[in-house]
């Protein structure tokens, strides 16, 4: 029996159950939906999934956030450590970003064999956050030429269901807006230690960063990933959609809608400029939503 041929599938399609059809002919299943301008999870093509954000999820970190876009879940946490600044930029701190896909997040990741996507997203995040200019690295300086903050941002994907970069970026910027920098002082050995009233109250150990507890975030970047398939544009794809229709476009805009970056890593569909412009328009819409979600999360945090 030739199950794979086009004829067989059209004959079969009227008979088999929906679930079987979805598994056997995933592309046709999705294209049928697209014809009706709807997606299998009942979303219109241009709509992103429900998005939630919770700040301060990890007590052992200096800043943390849990972001959920549909089922895709990201946990980001920042740990602040002390480093000696480089001689080229003695008045700047540093940010180290790492994106992890632990084996819990997806059936395709196994222990000891890291996911291929992880380093790619890691690099994209680093590039986006540094080029957006969201954080002024000079703010991370403590003692000029001697000590500065190194912010370790680790993002763990807890549940992978498509649009990983969008969720990771959202959790990253939220973790930075939650970040509370510890008050530190310079001790007699020349090391930076956390300032506490009991043992650091002596005159020579005044805190060095009393005023700088929060980072000033300017031009926060937000992103939206879309799938291009034929003439359709699907915003915020699920893992299933990503595996079936392979051309992705990720647009990153900052809060004043300036373009930070635009990725289209190949794929079988070549995009007309108009399609890219449509993606941009969808992203503009999405940035407004995400900004609102972030602001609400911050004000929720302040109420608590």
């Amino acid at each position: 029996m030739k199950m794979g041929s086009a004829n067989a599938s059209s004959d079969l399609s009227s008979e088999v159950e929906v679930d079987a059809f979805r598994r056997l002919f995933p592309l046709r299943f999705h294209e049928r939906h697209l014809l009706e301008s709807i997606r299998p999870d009942a979303r219109p093509l241009g709509k992103a999934r429900d998005t939630t954000l919770a700040l301060g999820a990890v007590a052992s970190a200096d800043g943390s956030a849990l972001a959920k876009i549909g089922c895709t879940t990201m946990l980001a946490a920042i740990k602040m450590e002390i480093m000696t600044p480089t001689t080229e930029s003695p008045d700047e701190g540093c940010i180290a970003i790492d994106f992890h896909m632990p084996p819990i997040c997806s059936p395709i990741v196994r222990p000891g064999r890291p996911a291929e996507a992880a380093p790619v997203v890691s690099k994209q995040l680093s590039d986006t956050i540094s080029s957006s200019g969201m954080i002024n690295l000079k703010e991370l300086s403590l003692v000029n030429g001697k000590a500065a903050w190194m912010a370790y941002l680790d993002i763990y994907c807890l549940d992978a269901d498509g649009a990983l970069f969008d969720a990771a970026l959202l959790s990253a910027v939220a973790a930075f807006s939650h970040l509370q920098i510890p008050v530190v002082s310079l001790n007699d050995d020349g090391r930076i230690v956390v300032f506490s009233e009991e043992n650091g109250g002596k005159l020579e150990n005044e805190p060095v960063n009393k005023e700088k507890r929060k980072l000033k975030l300017s031009r926060i970047p937000f992103s939206l990933t879309c799938i291009l398939h034929k003439n359709y544009i699907l915003a915020d794809p699920t893992a299933e959609e990503e595996s079936i229709m392979e051309t992705l476009v990720t647009v990153v805009l900052d809060s004043s809608f300036q373009l930070v970056s635009l990725y289209k890593p190949g794929g079988p569909v070549l995009a007309y400029t108009s399609a890219v412009q449509d993606c941009l328009a969808l992203t503009r819409q999405r940035v407004k939503e995400l900004q609102k979600i972030l602001n609400e999360a911050i004000s929720d945090m302040e109420v608590d």
Partner: protein, 256 residues
């Protein structure tokens, strides 16, 4: 890296935990108050939820105080190619930590010892005959380490297995007890574990009253070990009830 590319410079944590190494004398006293104001024989409130990870066949999230773990179960699925034919199913366990789980930033590597104890604690409870030739993967991620990490991982893993519909004889509940001076404290937090004289960890199937895994460290007299085991088993049966009700809630929510 954002900022400066190239090799990451060496850094250190400004928090004083590394310097603070002497055991607080309070633990030697007969009577003291635990830092979270619990009684010696009182467990932390447990928060359990199944279905935390959509991509997995089954999953569970557990939160005991500051200890937070997620366990995903995948399978039964095809065994690795190199594996020999086996007429019973295989169980594969892995426990790892996030880099921010501990007060001082860690490497986020796999914990081999915990993985092997988790395997031993679960294998006796799973009906391996029910999925021959295939493998069930149990992966745990400790999001935050707040003490008694391994018992929480074990309990959470058995919930995740139940959520995945893997056949088991019973749920596995696990509790540990620390010995500090003359006192036995149940469900210890990280600080208590750091200074403990000894510990007993029991994993058991509460309704069958069977111990699947037991580890003891430190020096124990026979009456003391009886007392510690008694405490653990009692707490395990209570935890087992909480786990059961968590599963019931999940299914009744599904039916509605």
């Amino acid at each position: 890296m954002a900022g400066k590319s190239g090799a990451t410079p060496t850094t250190y944590s400004p928090s004083p935990t590394t310097q603070n190494k002497k055991r607080p004398p309070i633990f030697n006293d007969v009577d003291w108050v635990r830092s979270d104001a619990r009684g010696f024989q009182q467990c932390r409130p447990a928060f359990l939820r199944t279905g935390a990870v959509n991509a997995a066949s089954g999953s569970a999230y557990a939160e005991f105080g500051n200890t937070k773990v997620i366990v995903s179960v995948f399978g039964p699925r095809e065994s690795k190619k190199a594996m020999m034919y086996s007429d019973v199913g295989r169980l594969n366990c892995n426990v790892s930590y996030t880099t921010f789980a501990t007060p001082v930033r860690g490497q986020g590597s796999d914990n081999k010892e915990f993985s092997s104890i988790l395997h031993k604690a679960l294998e006796g409870a799973i009906i391996l005959d029910s999925f021959p030739k295939t493998t069930v993967d149990v992966f745990a991620l400790v999001l935050e380490s707040g003490g008694s990490d391994l018992p929480v991982v074990i309990s959470c893993a058995s919930l995740a297995l139940a959520d995945a519909g893997i056949m088991m004889y019973d749920l596995v509940a696990s509790v540990s007890v620390s010995c500090l001076g003359k006192n036995l404290v149940i469900d210890p937090i990280s600080e208590e574990e750091r200074y403990q004289d000894g510990s007993v960890m029991i994993s058991c199937m509460p309704s069958r009253n069977e111990v699947t895994q037991l580890t003891v460290t430190g020096e124990w007299s026979t009456p003391k070990i009886h007392e510690a085991m008694e405490l653990c088993l009692d707490a395990c049966s209570k935890l087992g009830k909480i786990m059961r009700s968590c599963l019931k809630e999940a299914t009744s929510a599904l039916q509605e």
